[in-house]
Amino acid sequence: MKFTEDHEWLVLDGDVVTVGITEHAAEQLGDVVFVELPEVGDEFAESAEIATIESVKAASEINAPVTGEIVAINAAIVENPALVNEDPLGEAWFFKMKIEDTSALDSFMSEDEYKAFIA
């Protein structure tokens, strides 16, 4: 599992990366009440705005960590945004993205590095 400075986690499986937000991010946001996801087939350049997440007290965007095409979205968190608080690292993944350059992930933080980053 890799981590970005924007508090997203990334898991690579072949050329598909699954993206979600970290426990730390979910805690900071507080009760998540709304998630807006892209559509399958949408393509995004690195750092383009890809999803919106709103809590009772904050609104933030999730930017594409790398360039790629959306191949799956998690409808469960749209139905039940509270899932993002309950299981951010598991059931509450946001989307899966097919990417061309898997080496782009190398530059992101490891779990230990991320822990140090938020400490």
């Binding site: 009760d31 009440v33 709304f34 709103e54 809590s55 009772v56 007290k57 904050a58 609104a59 509270a82």
Partner: protein, 948 residues
């Protein structure tokens, strides 16, 4: 007998009404603060280089009765006529029960915006009724709790379409039959966004491929009624959105915008019992389909549950708002027109669907009778089918007829070169029609059976509206009065306790200042009535402007902006126009400190500016090095900076002159946010310290009440070089930001009465006492709490930030817990988590006497003690009075298994025993409400389900 003459003046307003502490109390408070005298405190608090040179001199302060006499004389210069001008403004009957129990009732008009839902349930219910009323009449899914005026709502609708439409086109179509002020404001809003506005006949000129949205008026400004269904479908086929500006009274008889396929509807609720007031205030509405609700600007009331699972209302989806999204917000709107929306909603409750329909039918049939009479006199009316408006071709007779009408006491509308427009309303009487006929040269009687209806074929309304029980209650006045009283009793307003909201200046709204707004000479004036009928208004605006200029050091004032945020928008547009006039139109960078009010970046974004954030230093001041570096880096493109003074941290920053100088050196203009002007009037002037523009929140510093979330007024003052670029007249000029030339003109009387009664000396004294009151609270609370920012003299300005974050670590107590516990003590919480997250910002204002300040401090200190008890382990970490606050009557009955007593729960220090304010609900669940969004009155059984 002999007696000694006293110099005591029983009616000396400045000393006896607005200044809370008595001279003896002030002496005591100064000792607590550690200042030798009031003047010494001010000298220590304000940097010397920002003090104003000359005292504020407006002549002597007038007593209450003298001021009312003065305003009577001025009001008498306005001529109350029967205005049949239309253009979105109509005569209306405010039911007396509503006028007295709401409009003239401090329980309603002195309340704050309902951000603390537990003590705002009354007006939240009334606003939910408003949203239900609008959603029903427009047949759309979601309506907000009102906007400033119809043209502003139309401009917001355009922005919503731009944000939400999938079409990539960059043009917006506007029906030429829209009210002229609507077209003007849409153009003003569109231009900085790079949106082209195409004005034309939608049935001839609209190319759906070329636009991302279109706006139609229904009925048109000249009375035409069209079914826009085909146009809506054509727009949707090209992924563009349709907005209809609709008259809500007409919608009781006519097919609704939602039934035509419109995505958005806007309009004015003014004719639902809200006086015209020469332009306002009144409530506009905006409604949309469910899928666009997250792009809806302004406030939205939603239904949630409290800690017991009982129904509770609250503001929903607040993350859409500017204070969270800043430059990414949908809009900079933060205020609504709550008081006027409440009046409109009560008008609908008062009349019910049957009553509203009957009013609409009568207006229509009398319009038909008027048309038939004119036709019998040989005139041709256009259109043939209409609701309440038509125009008449008069040829060369036009001006003679207009003059004859004036002689009858009637204002008609000039249309083109040879036509006259007429719009009727619910106040129409036989004499009205007969007067119009006489002006057209006919001697007819308005008698006999009503003529046939002349609504267009196929446009009749077939769907139901206002089916909710609240619109079907027993309409006996006894019952209505009690309903309004019940709602008022659920809210905590200034008539019960101080509302120490930082940055909001909840000062006294004196009764004498409020009285004139009910006079017909002020409130029955049409904003587009001839100038000679508004001579009193002109006099008032001129004198108030001169006094506000004197107090701020500016050279000119525009009264148009209807809120502080609209003032920011108008001020930045003025700066932008000035740059353009000098061939420097490329300047588009706006420097804004990170601790600025969220509206600042949102307003800059609306004006097409790029926001560059400037850091705040450790002590909360603008980081001067960062400011200088960024001004230099963007020197080629620097348009403006936006600063707040005293800062949003409640400190008079000594570097403010330097910040202004740096901005000017690099070609920019200084926008000084006037939100904190209550700390400056009479002691320091923005115009002297280097600012070029400011808005003045008349609803803060100058006594217009907050109305439970609006009205407001945010006029802007500018230096002379900017004066030619101020907003133009909404009908005759360009670049207007408000539908009426003086914004919400009628409530200017409140501010005018205030400055006349205070005089320059009284205003200066108010500022000084506001600073004393804040410093007294700081002195009493320090030790128990850290006061975050203080100026050079160790003093705060007119407000202070109290750090409650340590309680989170030591006792698990959050800023929310403190705020809600203050409700148990009988107080409205201070401003929460702004500008510093997790802290409270307290602004007492000069109006509060020492006893009330002490009651508040006692409550705050007691809360600290409760937190200490948690720290010691004497109170449970979860099950304690702070976490469970606020407590309600429900907590007094039934089982009690908590580890603290009911006595402690309900009667903490500060709370009154006999006059205890009981919150109507326990703590409201915010997340539940946002996850299960309901923004109209749900059926009664739905509440029961929600609770399960």
């Amino acid at each position: 007998m002999t007696f000694e003459f006293t110099d005591y003046k029983p009616y000396d307003f400045a000393n006896r009404r607005h200044i809370g502490p008595s001279p003896d109390e002030m002496a005591e408070m100064l000792r607590a603060v550690g200042a030798e005298s009031l003047d010494a405190l001010i000298d220590e608090t304000l940097p010397r280089d920002i003090r104003q040179a000359e005292p504020l001199a407006f002549g002597p302060a007038l007593s209450e009765s003298e001021v009312l006499l003065r305003l009577r004389r001025t009001a008498a210069r306005n001529k109350v006529m029967t205005s049949l001008i239309g253009m979105g403004y109509h005569n209306t009957v405010t039911p007396p029960a509503i006028q007295r129990n709401i409009l003239e009732n401090p329980a309603w008009y002195t309340a704050y915006t309902p951000y603390q839902p537990e003590i705002s349930q009354g007006r939240l219910e009334a606003l939910l009724n408003f949203q239900t009323l609008v959603a029903d009449l427009t047949a759309l899914d979601v309506a907000n709790a009102s906007l400033l005026d119809e043209p502003t709502a139309a401009a917001e609708a355009m922005a919503l379409c731009l944000r939400s439409a999938k079409s990539k086109a960059k043009a917006f179509f506007v029906d030429a039959e829209c009210h002229p002020q609507t077209i003007n404001l849409v153009k003003t809003r569109a231009e900085p966004l790079g949106v082209e506005v195409i004005v034309g006949d939608p049935f001839a000129d609209l190319d759906p491929k070329a636009v991302f949205g279109a706006l139609f008026q229904y009925p048109g400004t000249h009375g035409h009624l069209h079914d826009f269904s085909d146009l809506c479908a054509a727009l949707h086929a090209e992924k563009a959105l349709a907005t209809v500006a609709a008259d809500p009274l007409a919608l009781t008889l006519l097919k609704a915008p939602g039934e035509m396929g419109a995505d958005v509807a806007v309009g004015s609720m003014q004719r639902f019992g809200v006086p015209m007031g020469a332009g306002g205030p009144h409530a506009a509405y905006i409604a949309c389909k469910d899928q666009y609700k997250r792009a809806l600007p302004g406030r939205l009331v939603g239904v949630s549950v409290d800690a017991r699972g009982n129904r509770a209302y609250r503001l929903a989806l607040q993350t859409r708002e500017q204070h969270i999204r800043r430059e990414k917000a949908t809009s900079n709107v933060c205020t609504a027109q709550a008081l006027l929306a409440v009046v409109a909603s009560m008008y609908a409750v008062f009349h019910g669907p049957k009553g509203l329909k009957a009013i609409a039918q009568r207006v229509h049939l009398e319009t038909a009778r008027l048309a038939a009479g004119l036709e019998s006199l040989g005139f041709e009316v256009e259109p043939k089918a209409f609701f309440d408006t038509f125009t008449v071709e008069c040829g060369p007779l036009r001006d003679v007829i207009l003059r004859s009408a004036l002689a009858e006491g009637i204002n008609l509308r000039k249309v083109g070169k040879t036509r006259i427009g007429v719009t009727l309303d619910e106040t129409v009487r036989p004499e009205t029609l007969e007067g119009v006929w006489r002006a057209f040269g006919g001697d007819l009687r308005a008698e006999g059976p009503a003529p046939a209806a002349r609504l267009p074929e196929g446009l009749g309304r077939t769907s139901d509206y206002l089916t909710h029980p609240v619109f079907h209650m027993n309409r006996a006045e006894a019952e209505m009065t009690r309903y309004m009283r019940r709602l008022a009793d659920r809210d905590l307003a200034l008539d019960r306790a101080m509302i120490p909201l930082g940055s909001c200046t909840m000062k006294l709204n004196a009764t004498a200042e409020m009285q004139p707004i009910s006079w017909p000479e002020f409130n029955a004036i049409h904003p587009f009535a001839p100038a000679d009928q508004q001579a009193g208004y002109a006099e008032m605006v001129a004198d108030l402007s001169a006094k506000l200029c004197a107090a701020t050091g500016y050279d000119a004032m525009s009264m148009q902006p209807n809120s502080g945020a609209q003032g920011e928008y108008a001020g930045l547009l003025t700066i932008r126009a000035w740059h353009r006039s000098r061939g420097e139109g490329h300047r588009d960078v706006c420097l804004i400190p990170t601790n600025a009010h969220g509206t600042n970046p949102a307003s800059a974004q609306m004006c097409g500016m790029e926001v560059v954030a400037v850091k705040a230093a450790e002590n909360g001041d603008v980081d001067l090095d960062d400011f200088r570096a960024k001004a230099e880096r963007h020197a080629d493109r620097l348009a403006a900076c936006m600063i707040t003074y005293p800062s949003t941290h409640g400190v008079f920053e000594p570097t403010v002159r330097e910040v202004c100088a740096i901005t000017h050196r690099h070609g920019g203009q200084v926008y000084l946010d006037g939100a904190n002007l209550n700390a400056m009037v009479g002691v320091s002037r923005p115009g002297d310290i280097g600012a070029d523009v400011s808005h003045l929140n008349l609803h803060k510093t100058f006594c217009i009440p907050h109305g439970g979330g609006g009205p407001g007024m945010g006029p802007i003052g500018v230096k002379a070089h900017l004066a030619p670029h101020l907003p133009g007249h909404p009908v005759e000029g360009e670049g207007a930001v408000s539908g009426a030339p003086w914004g919400s003109a009628s409530i200017l009387a409140i501010s005018w009465a205030y400055v006349l009664m205070m005089g320059g000396e009284g205003l200066t004294q108010a500022t000084k006492v506001a600073i004393l009151n804040a410093n007294y609270i700081a002195a009493r609370l320090s030790g128990a709490y850290d006061i975050l920012y203080t100026g050079a003299g160790g003093h705060v300005a007119h407000e202070l930030i109290v750090d409650v974050r340590p309680l989170q670590d030591s006792a698990g107590v959050t800023v929310d817990d403190v705020a809600k516990r203050l409700i148990d003590c009988g107080f409205h919480a201070p401003t929460m988590s702004w500008p510093v997250p997790g802290c409270l910002m307290i602004e007492p204002t000069e109006s509060e006497p020492k006893a009330e300040l002490d009651r508040f401090c006692d409550a705050m200190l007691a809360i600290r003690e409760e937190a200490r008890a948690i720290e010691r382990g004497d109170l449970d970490k979860e099950d304690n009075p702070l976490k469970r606050a606020p407590h309600t009557v429900e907590d007094l009955v039934g089982e009690w298994d908590r580890p603290y007593s009911r006595e402690q729960a309900c009667f903490p220090p500060g709370a009154f025993r006999v006059d205890k304010f009981w919150a109507p609900v326990n703590r409201v669940d915010n997340a539940y409400g946002d996850r299960h969004l309901v923004c109209t009155c749900p059926p009664m059984e739905a509440y029961a389900e929600a609770a399960e």
